[in-house]
Symmetry: C2
Subunit: 431 residues, 2 copies
């Protein structure tokens, strides 16, 4: 059996109706989970597979899915913090971004991918420039990603052609690990005609749309001034939400907006770390869940977060809704774990991802349960979400391939990635 | 030179006017830092000290100070989550606490101390029952602590005698690592006469007061109903704040309350993780800092947090103020780092603690800077606060003694502590 794998003795958190298997036994063939059960596999099968992982110190979970980031921005991590948004963008980030290149975005993306794998993320949705470099980094590292060229429509239509070319080159490449979306950056950076063309191309190329929506108060009030309606209503009225859409942020929403997101089955990427750090506000996740909106988690770029740690986002997302609404029953542990996994798969419009079940992609993580914050053993999901942190993640498998085992990367030269990313980051900022 | 230590080649974050030494060299003799400089020590001195730690992969910081917890409550971690406060207390925590014993609190406290050392905490302020067990655990593990017997005044005055005896037994014990406070639990659990006696005893025994203040809205409105004034004004009027006081929580405060905390130099332990998770609300830390109130960080008990990770508290404290007040310039990275260290020392009323400077206690931590979230190297303090997590902490020194080196505990039997704590936790809950 080529490229096959058994994971045995883990406590398996399936996120399906099977619940938790304690212990469970999982068979992976190729890139797919083919069997999951409560009885050990027999020795004959074990002798035939390529690898048997004894995971008795671990929980086994679906890998985390980060549904909104700008991986190349790791180059600007901790370069500028504690600043007002426009001061930060105009005086720090935009001038630095003007110095980016294919090469620097490649190393920045590699650094981000290493961090994501280290912290248990097996898929991410990226929107940035120099996307061929990002795709190359995804292909080489073995992670899964939904990639899109971020298009600032007010700069002209060239980016639309670039995006089309990017999609035709990379969609479903790297054994299908790379999929694409079309990403008009935001309603306030793209004219209506540009958004309408984006809708057409998205339909023609059969890719979803990835867009920033209602991140700040100012953006929302500007939209009302200019169009007489909120960004959500405006985007819906011009037809964007007739396409499958991943909407990042969605912080400032009224009841009509919520109704539209629900009715049009728009996926929301909740970016709580970035929203807090940039002072953007707190998204009404409680109300979105009441209306059955698909809510997943994103980190946003690592220069506004300042990391790519999805487990931290999950914990923070839960705590913020409880604390802000003074209601500790909101966003319970299992809810945010699903937001980080199975709901993330829905946001990426990928089927058969984000759960541990036969036929699902073998994107899996092991979480070490032998640290002080993991005792006592009253409730595994609460321990994972509320107590431990991402460095408990010990092993990461994507598409059936082991990328990190017992906290060691099997294929990547980390020292070189750290060195090159640091060098490019310094050069860009000093240019 | 007996019990002496050199730490060389680290980037030293002193939190003094010396700023950051890159690299720096630190000499520890006995329990005290005796020299800190930018030049290496000579070989003669290096040959005389007991140990030389080459820390070139690390940042060196003062250890974290957790100014409010109930360590024994690790036994109830993840036992009951996502519940309304009174439901959680009345139906889960209080019945379980009734089954506690000297032995179970001992093992629960050991588990918590292991977690605190692992996550870089070198001192903590504890308020609980069976405090002899906590003191024994502190003495054996080598951590520093300010301990107090939590007294529910409405249950009678016996706890006052117990507290007096505890203080006379343990204050300044364990080479001075243990100090004590007197802890009437809260204004709503202690009658006025009990609080007045507490003031007297605190004066007589020369120990500070540790008390819960204005944690919930209900507590504050009840105080206004009963005494015609807020908990802060009430406590001040009866004289509590004439004693050095550590006030935990302080979530619901008006301007008069803030004025009193500032004028009376009351130390505030900000417990943001617990306040969010229990839905208690968000403390006005921005206003406290404007008024120069001494604000430090606490985790509260691990069953309402659900961990003892002070670095996570620091990050969350900063992000929440920024996000809640929509102002990203609030609580910058260095401010919350000081809240976790030097401001914590002030809250514990301990001099010469919480900075790296000659004459200060040698409570020090090394933070590994060779992980993906620590690159690029634009700003060490932002990387530590906003990006990495507590598992980057590699080495922990308390009172000049190395307790954890390169993530390995040197003196403690972790497997036994995990096993015993888990066993006692299950027994208590099933009793």
């Amino acid at each position: 059996m080529s490229n096959s794998l058994i994971i045995e003795n883990a406590i398996v958190i399936t996120l399906t109706e099977k619940g938790i298997l304690d212990p469970g036994y999982v068979l992976v063939e190729g890139d797919v989970i083919t069997n999951i059960r409560e009885e050990p596999f027999d020795d004959e099968l074990k002798s035939k597979v390529n690898r048997v992982i004894d995971a008795k110190r671990n929980y086994l979970l679906p890998g985390f899915i980060n549904t909104h980031t700008h991986a190349g921005m790791s180059l600007f991590r901790s370069y500028a913090d504690d600043m007002a948004l426009m001061d930060w963008l105009e005086n720090k980030i935009w001038p630095a971004e003007a110095n980016l290149s294919d090469e620097s975005v490649y190393w920045g993306s590699l650094l981000s991918i290493v961090e994501m794998i280290r912290t248990g993320t097996t898929s991410f949705a990226d929107m940035y420039f120099y996307m061929d470099s990002v795709a190359k980094a995804v292909k080489e590292t073995g992670i899964r990603a939904s990639l899109s060229r971020g298009m600032i429509g007010f700069k002209g239509e060239e980016s639309l052609y670039e995006a089309k070319e990017f999609i035709s080159t990379w969609n479903n490449e790297a054994d299908g690990r790379i999929t694409c979306m079309l990403a008009p950056h935001a309603p306030y950076t793209c004219p209506t005609s540009f958004l309408e063309k984006s809708i057409e191309i998205s339909e023609e190329l059969k890719v979803p749309i990835h867009i920033h929506v209602s991140e700040t108060e100012g953006e929302t009030s500007d939209s009302i001034k200019e169009y007489g309606k909120s960004p959500v209503i405006y985007l819906n009225d011009i037809g964007v939400f007739d396409r499958p859409t991943l909407a990042a942020h969605c912080v400032h929403l009224d009841d009509n907006d919520l109704e539209v997101l629900s009715k049009k089955k728009v996926s929301v990427s909740h970016n709580i770390g970035s929203n807090l750090k940039l002072g953007s506000g707190i998204a009404p996740i409680d109300k979105m869940l009441e209306k059955d909106v698909n809510v997943s988690l994103g980190t946003d770029g690592p220069s506004s977060n300042n990391n790519l740690d999805l487990l931290e986002e999950a914990r923070t997302a839960s705590l913020i809704q409880k604390g802000f609404h003074k209601n500790p029953t909101l966003l319970e542990a299992e809810t945010v774990l699903k937001m980080a996994t199975s709901e993330g798969a829905k946001s990426l419009k990928l089927n058969k991802l984000g759960k541990i079940s036969p036929g699902y992609k073998a994107d899996l993580i092991l979480v070490d349960k032998n640290s002080p914050d993991m005792y006592p053993k009253h409730n595994p999901i609460a321990n994972i979400i509320y107590s431990c942190n991402s460095q408990n993640i010990s092993t990461v498998i994507v598409d059936g391939k082991v990328l990190m085992k017992d906290k060691e990367f099997l294929h990547l030269d980390l020292e070189k990635i750290y060195h090159e990313a640091n060098k490019h980051a310094k050069e860009i900022i000093n240019a």
